[in-house]
Point group: C2
Chain length 416, copies 2
């Protein structure tokens, strides 16, 4: 018996080439069915990540009716030649080649606020909302910092005080700060390949992945979160767990007394002059998936990054208070972070749902599985926004290529 | 044993008062679950009709990035006093009182292109997309007329030629014109209260209503339509059947070689300078629900009506060819229509998915269940756009009040 393994690269898995959901009707073998989790699996996810609202219920994050924050364009044709060495196997690679290596769907580089590079691949276009996965967390963390700055949230308050529904759960005695910085100690594993993991069970409760017949677990986020139990002591080490952001999103919504989609519209989308409404995946109660459900267009991701780079000042004035931005940039405990063992992120930290990299020009990033990201390099005055559909549901699938690519791009831009 | 019947009127069923889906989390008794068809039932539908994308998968009908067609405002304060007599029980009623009588969610009156009256109720606001139900059909019929006018569709072509997939079905030997004017003869009943009716079975295939356990029927529109069989002879009488529009939408998509959401964006939304993207409910293959799945904002409904009133000229030029508009206004066979026995619509006809009322100033209308509508009175130079959430899923629930109200409003406006 011969075993054949078919390996698809970015070109052979291109969703246009593959023809997913194309045709009127699509041929049976070209259909992606949410009921079969096709929207969450490679290679069909290469189409689905740019069409999530077509598979799942969603809410609108409204841009309102204001003027768009125009991004001036001065494209450079020398950037595909930027070269770097991959972090894993030490290959030499060009920026141009890195895009396919990382299954990039869309990427944009801002330098001093100018669009110097912008590319779209597959089914993703400038006006296509794409799932941002955990980049969503950084939006939520930033709004939480704004509420702290306004004195409306006390970072030292225990979750049980902020959300009485969480009394009795493992979160009860964690502080808001520990939730924001993900130093809670919980029995919740973030293994995307295991449906029995914490994140797997959460995904069933949320409805992101289809529930098996006879499923009797929780059917919304509110019902799921109080079931999480403690494992260890809070505050000692960073452990990346999406459930923290779900609790944080709930706290933000409770504080603002409105749903998170509306909060993001009022706090971020309208003030920043975003060019498109975003789609926000929701559960059966209408609660947005704070840890990963936001679907913006690429340029709106870039606008958020640029506002952060510019001390919170975006389109026509301060949108995010400087103190909130500085709290994020300042980072958190590197000791706590180091315990998580991220090979490609030495001396980093996780602060208010952002990844801070003090060793790299004080860069900080919003990062999502399958290659979503905002990367801000303050020294190089650079912001990179990216969407991807990498086969691997972990940043470690992208980091060996994307991190040195971003650093090399920063160096090139600093040369002028 | 005492039987209690609780009757809810527009005020007692107001979705804000009822508090549907309000709270973080919503209380269990305030939740609307798509899995229990709560989005399709009174009184919960009073909330859901303004939030359909939060219950079901949807595609975006993009407005593009162009300028908005601004609607000048000159509000009049004398219009609530317009009086009329209801068609059923001959009650005297004022326009102001008619809004609650008809469970109106939003209504706008244009006179000579000026907004003279605009009201929003319950959870529906100016920027809230609301399901238009069968008003969707008139968008599809108008685009079909445009394709006929361009010579790309032959109204006399049989459906079997246009859609080989429909050979063997009851539609095969029906002409495109018969589909557009709904004079096909089919075994398909349009009874919204019977899940075993044609429309009930269609709704299950589409996924608009939840499928019972063990459901083995079709799971998309493409699979459902070919199962419809013939009953009688095509062309003899008008019978209102949504399945005609599903076939028409498929023909339009096949002709344009793109999905209907994209067709409507390019043909209507962008040229008319709509102010918001619309949401379009879709099936599991991504096919839009052509017969009733469009969710625009009220003002965009009004813009479409105003463009029709103005011979197809909207925002900055001709968007719809005059010949297409005239084909619709010209109406169809009144004899064929009369056989359907609409008590409140004597001497009317149904042409290209529009209802024409030659006896009333040559008015024509797009009409959807639960009170959706566009009503165009060319003589009074008036367009009315309306969203509703009437308990009754039939135009007959609204017509006795809304038709004389519209006529009385036209008379008032003609007085100056």
């Amino acid at each position: 018996m011969t075993e054949q393994r078919i390996v698809l690269d970015a070109h052979t898995s291109d969703p246009v080439t593959m023809g997913w959901m194309q045709g009127l009707p699509p041929a049976p073998e070209k259909r992606i069915l949410a009921a079969a989790a096709g929207h969450m699996r490679f290679p069909t996810h290469r189409h689905a990540f740019s069409h999530m609202r077509e598979f799942l219920p969603s809410a609108r994050v409204s841009r309102g009716g204001g003027a768009v924050w125009e991004l001036p364009e001065s494209p450079r044709d020398d950037l595909d030649s930027v070269r770097f060495t991959t972090l894993d196997d030490g290959r030499e690679m060009s920026w141009g080649d890195s895009l396919a290596a990382n299954f990039t769907d869309a990427i944009l580089v801002l330098h001093r606020g100018q669009v110097v590079y912008e590319r779209y691949f597959g089914v993703t276009r400038r006006d296509t909302p794409h799932i941002a996965f955990s980049v969503t967390k950084s939006f939520v963390g930033t709004v939480a910092e704004m509420l702290v700055e306004e004195g409306r949230l006390d970072p030292e308050a225990p979750v049980g005080d902020l959300l009485p529904e969480m009394l009795g759960s493992g979160f009860a005695d964690a502080t808001l700060r520990q939730v924001m910085d993900m130093t809670t100690a919980l029995d919740f594993s973030e293994d995307y390949t295991d449906s029995a993991s914490g994140i797997g069970a959460f995904s069933l409760a949320l409805g992101l992945t289809p529930r098996p017949a006879g499923y009797t677990g929780p059917t919304d986020i509110y019902a799921f979160l109080p079931t999480i139990v403690k494992a260890g002591e809070h505050g000692e080490r960073f452990t990346y767990r999406t459930c923290n952001t779900e609790v944080l999103g709930w706290i933000v919504a409770r504080t603002e007394n409105k749903r998170l989609d509306r909060v993001l519209s009022e706090r971020i989308w309208q003030p920043l002059g975003m060019e498109q409404d975003a789609d926000f995946l929701i559960d059966s109660t209408g609660m947005p998936f704070a840890g990963g459900g936001l679907n913006p267009v690429l340029r709106d991701l870039a606008r958020f990054g640029e506002a952060m780079r510019c001390d919170g000042v975006g389109h026509g004035g301060a949108a995010i208070p400087l103190a909130a931005v500085e709290s994020i940039r300042g980072g958190a405990s590197r000791t706590a972070f180091a315990k998580a063992g991220y090979v490609y992120l030495p001396d980093c930290s996780y602060r208010s749902q952002w990844w801070t990299m003090p060793g790299n020009h004080g860069a900080y990033a919003a990062r999502g599985i399958h290659g979503q990201g905002i990367y801000i390099d303050p020294v190089a005055e650079m912001v990179i926004a990216r969407f991807g559909s990498h086969p691997i549901a972990a940043s470690s699938g992208n980091d060996p290529v994307s991190l040195p690519a971003y650093r090399a791009m920063a160096e090139r831009l600093m040369q002028g």
